[in-house]
Amino acid sequence: MKHIHTIPSIGIVANPASGRDIRRLTSKALVFPTVEKINMIERLLGAFGAVGVEHVMMMPDMVGIAAGLIRAIDGHRAQGLQPWPVVDFVPMPLTDSPRDTQEAVRRMRAAGVAVIVVLGGDGTHRIVAGECGDTPLATLSSGTNNAFPDLREPTLTGLAAGLVATGAVPVSEAARRNKLLRVRGSKVDEIALVDVCVTRQMHLGARAVWDPATIAELFVTFAEPDAIGLSSIAAMLEPVGREAPRGSWVRCATSGLGVLAPIAPGLVTPVGIDEHGLLAPGRPMQIRTEQGCIALDGEREIELNGHQTYSVTLELDGPLTLDVPATLAAAVRRGAMVRDLIRSAAP
């Protein structure tokens, strides 16, 4: 029998590696330091504590987020401030690779956490989405170059997650279903949450796709003109909403007509367009490029060498994510933010 928490519990995944790839050199993306990730988690804990969340399952890591958090919790306790939930680190072996995230999410799900808060970029959320099943995610961008997660003050995300975890707002009012793209090859079955980009860059190399001149094909789940990153190329041709039952695709060209797209922080560049169209759910589209790499949510993951064929399919049953404004509005409507100050004040 798997162990299910009876008190409301929230999982936290913070990707130690996010926010420090090559895009800091090729665009104006900023380093996202470990100390800031720790501080974001502290802000989450403050919100959780305030709405009655008693337990948190935290992913451990090897580069100091967990260590810094332990120091922060000790300091918080010593000062006798408003209580935070008890934070337990998921007991698991570490590999200092994305496998750690997968393992942590599997264990959080098995333990029955109500919500998983994710701090990271599109890539981190992609990895979590592969394992989280129907456990809703509260997304937080730890970086400047993401389309999927919210760029939001963590205190508010923490409140929304806490209100859902304690049952003050039902998941049905708080969560939205996302789309995903599935990439299939003879030995490959991978997902992406925002975009699948085929680049002519030959090697996985520094992973991030940063050179617009190398982009050959692009598939997106949604395309918002106010989102940063590769999906903006599709957005500038024809916006596709997050909840629309379709995606879109683009084949790029090096000459002819194009669109101006904000493909990275501070980098607004014309991208040539050969053809583009809408992507219907469940209908695989073949990747045409033979030499290059397939990037999932902005990071090169699969090297193409002409021997294998790959397809991309839009699916409508991606992960659930909390809509923070909707959750907080629902909480207000339900009176969940009202407190009796006389009774709750300490004698």
Partner: protein
């Protein structure tokens, strides 16, 4: 702009990494016999870093190295035969046998020197970079330094100076997790050295140091940026050394199997060979041929180093000062 690695580039990268590995493995064996004077700190395991960086440089660009400098030297183009003689303390060595492992320098290829002073390279590259900038030359300077050195004042001062003067410098942090026997977990306050870049107003990135392609591309972006006037940056390369801090180090501070696990799963030469052969870019037979040539080169360098003459008493007072 993306640089495409040609077949020749790939073969060169492999040859460089293999030469460093063979050189270091051979020193590991030979040092144990007690015939080699001084200390050696081996670079085995870290080859993708020096190679990935230096493949983006020309002889007019400068690098400053560390006490663990053999790999940087070879990647920058210093002759391994002269290096071997230098380490054996012979007159035919790169520095006439007077420097040894920790002071191999060859200005003709832009190698400012291995350096026994941890963190000593930062101020040096600020000098060469300032010279290039004042002369309007498109040359960059790279300072290799370790996680231990990342805590030295010299490195902070150099990062500050490079930033305020917008110098074409790349601070290349080789984070192998240890400074002598001290784990970086105990000594580096911020855990990711790259995080420190923002304090000096420069970009910082972290890259997998076992992956030549990742280092080549990331360092290439930093170098292009500096060359085009974009200023300094910090590139943190995460990797591991295969041997002790110095030869003779018992390494009681490392977990059993730590190194073997890395050799089996992450080794830079293994990964590189797998990538280029499975993509069909290079045939295994070509890599085997390079292995054989490199082995012959290093074998020959040892035979020569052993039989070459030592410096004499008369050499003691020459090369002490350089006149400009």
């Amino acid at each position: 702009m993306t640089k495409t690695l040609t077949r020749e580039d790939l073969l060169k990268a492999y040859r460089t990494m293999r030469t460093i590995r063979e050189f270091e493995e051979r020193l590991h064996t030979d040092f144990a016999t007690g015939e080699i004077p001084g200390f050696v700190h081996l670079y085995a395991g870290e080859e993708a870093s020096a190679t990935g960086v230096c493949m983006n440089l020309t002889a007019d660009d400068h690098i400053a190295s560390t006490h663990r400098g053999h790999g940087h030297c070879i990647a920058k183009g210093v002759d391994p035969v002269g290096m071997m003689a230098e380490i054996w303390g012979k007159k035919t060595g790169t520095c006439k046998g007077k420097g040894g492992s920790m002071h191999i320098a060859d200005l003709s290829v832009g190698m400012l020197g291995a350096n026994g002073i941890v963190g000593g390279g930062g101020p040096l590259v600020c000098g060469t970079a300032l010279a290039a900038k004042l002369r309007n030359q498109p040359f960059v300077s790279v300072c290799f330094f370790g996680d231990g050195a990342s805590n030295q004042g010299t490195i902070f001062e150099a990062m500050n100076l490079a930033s305020v003067w917008n110098l074409p410098v790349i601070f290349l942090a080789e984070n192998n997790g240890y400074a002598e026997a001290t784990s970086s977990k105990f000594s580096v306050a911020c855990d990711n050295i790259a995080d420190r870049a923002s304090a000096f107003g420069m970009p910082g990135i972290t890259v997998d140091g076992f992956d030549f392609f990742a280092v080549y591309e990331a360092a290439g972006a930093a170098i292009d940026r500096a060359r085009n006037g974009g200023g300094p940056s910090l590139v943190e390369v995460k990797l591991s050394r295969y041997y002790g801090h110095f030869e003779g180090d018992q390494q009681t501070y490392r977990a059993a199997g730590e190194v073997q696990n890395i050799r089996d799963t992450k080794d830079c030469l293994m990964q590189f060979a797998h990538r280029v052969t499975s993509s069909g870019e290079i045939a295994q037979a070509e890599l085997d041929a390079i292995d054989a040539e490199v082995k012959a080169l290093i074998d020959g360098s040892v035979v020569k180093a052993k039989s070459d003459p030592k410096p004499t008493e008369a050499d003691l007072l020459t090369d002490v000062y350089v006149s400009y």
